[in-house]
């Protein structure tokens, strides 16, 4: 898994500027990790399909300026121009959203997650169907392990995001709560 990520990194960074890869080649490198059609098969690597344009641009921007840290993405984002941010943002936002995962969800955890998501203002920003908008990501059918990893990072303040909203909203939740929320968003029943 890590090998694939590194291969993509080499692919992206090895080409000298004079032989800069075409947009399609660079986009293919994204999907080496983020999966066919932007649906990730790699643990703790997010599905990117259907993420809002603004969210994608903001995350690439944060990786580029060092405001969000990930060994692969930090390298990937370094050479990106403002025009690249827009182009990748538009491309990613048009990839299809990920389908629900196969397998049976854990009913009690799903229900606890649903109740928590209803009491918290999650839907206010992420939309009632958790499809995301503007700087706020799509949560529906995201990888459960990635959702949990992200919420833990927000809660610890190791990831801040494009504003402090998530560190504030997760204040006071237990790790079990985060697990239930991740389970709920990952397995969200289709309306």
């Amino acid at each position: 898994m890590r090998g694939a990520a590194l291969a993509a990194l080499v692919l992206l960074t090895a080409a000298p500027p004079a032989l800069a890869a075409s947009f399609d080649e660079r986009a293919a490198a994204c999907l080496a990790c983020h999966g066919p059609n932007g649906q990730s098969l790699i643990p703790e690597t997010p599905s990117i399909g259907g993420q809002p344009f603004f969210f994608v641009v903001a995350q690439l921007f944060l990786f580029r300026r060092g405001g969000r840290s990930n060994p692969v993405m930090t390298e990937v984002a370094k050479p990106l121009t403002d025009a690249d941010l827009r182009a990748f943002g538009e491309w990613v936002s048009k990839l299809p959203p990920p389908p629900p995962p196969t397998g049976t969800p854990d009913a009690p955890s799903l229900e606890r997650g649903r109740a928590l998501a209803q009491r918290r203002p999650c839907a206010s920003c992420h939309n009632p169907d958790f499809s995301g908008r503007e700087q706020m990501p799509r949560l529906a059918h995201q990888r459960e392990d990635y959702l949990l990893k992200s919420m833990r990072e927000y809660q610890r303040g190791t990831r801040i995001g494009y504003g402090a909203a998530m560190t504030e909203e997760l204040h006071g939740l237990s790790d079990g709560d985060l697990q239930d929320l991740a389970h709920f968003f990952a397995h969200l029943p289709r309306p």
Binding site: S124, Q135, G157, G172
Partner: protein, 420 residues
């Protein structure tokens, strides 16, 4: 596509999404399991969300983002801004991504802080009437708080305060900073700072509440403290302060005046944000989290508390209006009525369906030091229920003109006056 057209398109997208999402809940509810939610554990009941709207426009409020690319100079909303007769607004500097706090050095350098988006400190240097934007320091975590004092630039993040000495002679290479103070809790929510050195020579540093509404120990959070410039001698001067991102000292009395942002999610029009005046340092509590806007007890934490037991605001600045930077006017350029009046930048609400503010207002004080009126000063940045720009801080330049930072566009404007 320009940043502003992108924003317009995004706004349109949000309007559409909101419209679509309003139609969704009924379907979603039909599909959901009718089983009642399990009894909530004590710690997972977010009392601040009680009464939070589940449908309608109130359910679709979210922080209003600025695009991560600064608006080009020729696309800035200069023509939209309105100021009183005799005043003029111009672009002082463009391409200052996420422009937040403003300070001026002894030699005229204007320092600009930024926050989440840029994480940088900039220096604006005059180059033949145009400003060169230098990135002075980068990769900082929420470096919103800056102060200039005796040749040094102080920089405050949620965790620590550092000092760059002789900074105006080191604009190309500031070097490593000296440590001033690191006894801060470092929480991210309301952890970003506004700092200022008072007439007593001490550095005033707020520590916000680490949440929207909660009751943290008042010696750790939700207060303003002051320290000696070597970091020693910490004392708390004001308690019950939720999140102040702007204060200044009265030019004659030396009293601390500060803006404070009140809690979210209560209602469209409650509570109002505050302008406060501290007359007895160390002895006053301004109400948070028990009492908001001086007369409104919190629906959860206010039971058993009397608003009369807390210091009332000097003035109310509107619901969720997000007053940030403020400065007493000490210059000579503006007409006499502005002398010692307070200019206040209001960022404009996100936690309100109807957007307003995003302006600079001016509070006039009477002879006893009470606020007798508040007037709009720089307006015109709200259009179609969205923001064309969002003022963050104000600064009286040595020539008496007023700078205004705008983090939405990444720009600094200059307001000047001429009676000719």
């Amino acid at each position: 596509m320009t940043a502003s057209t992108t924003r317009r398109n995004l706004t349109l997208a949000v309007v559409l999404l909101t419209w679509v999402s309003l139609a969704l809940p009924a379907t979603a509810q039909q599909q959901s399991t009718p089983a009642p939610p399990p009894p909530a554990k004590e710690e997972e009941v977010p009392f601040w969300a009680v009464g939070k709207p589940k449908t309608g426009p109130g359910a679709a409020m979210a922080p209003v983002p600025a695009f991560p690319i600064a608006t080009p100079a020729d696309k800035l909303p200069i023509a939209k801004m309105k100021v009183p007769p005799g005043f003029k607004v111009e672009v002082y500097a463009a391409n200052v991504l996420d422009a937040r706090g403003l300070r001026q050095g002894d030699k005229g350098t204007v320092f600009v802080s930024s926050n989440f988006v840029a994480g940088k400190i900039y220096a604006l240097v005059d180059k033949g009437g145009k400003r060169e934007v230098k990135t002075l320091i980068e990769k900082l975590e929420l470096p919103n708080g800056i102060e200039f004092h005796k040749g040094s630039l102080y920089v405050a993040t949620p965790k620590a305060i550092t000092r760059y000495d002789d900074i105006e002679n080191k604009l190309d290479s500031p070097g490593d900073p000296a440590k001033v103070y690191d006894q801060l809790p470092g929480d991210i929510p309301h952890g970003w700072k506004f700092i200022k050195i008072g007439p007593d020579g001490k550095l005033y540093v707020p520590v916000g509440a680490p949440c929207n509404i909660c009751d943290p120990p008042s010696d750790k959070y939700a207060h303003i403290r002051r320290i000696n410039l070597d970091g020693s001698g910490m004392e708390i001067v004001a308690r019950g302060v939720r999140n102040t991102i702007g204060f200044d000292f009265h030019p004659r009395t030396g009293e601390l005046w500060f803006t404070d942002n009140q809690r979210d999610w209560l209602s469209e029009d409650l509570p109002q944000d505050e302008l406060n005046r501290l007359t007895k340092p160390g002895q006053e509590h301004f109400g948070y989290p028990y009492c908001h806007q001086g007369d409104f007890a919190d629906p959860e934490l206010g039971w058993g508390k009397a608003c009369g037991d807390f210091t009332k605001p000097a003035a109310l600045l509107g619901p969720h209006s997000a007053p940030l930077g403020m400065r007493f006017y000490t210059g000579k350029m503006f007409p006499g009525q502005y002398h010692n009046a307070i200019f206040i930048a209001r960022h404009g609400p996100w936690n309100r369906t109807k957007k307003y503010a995003a302006d600079v207002v001016v509070a006039f004080l009477d002879k006893t030091g009470r606020v007798n009126k508040i007037e709009p000063f720089l307006t015109g940045l709200v259009e179609n229920n969205g923001y064309l720009g969002r003022p963050v801080d104000v600064l009286v330049l040595k020539d008496g003109s007023l700078l205004v930072s705008d983090d939405h566009n990444g720009a600094v404007y200059r307001v000047s006056y001429s009676n000719k």
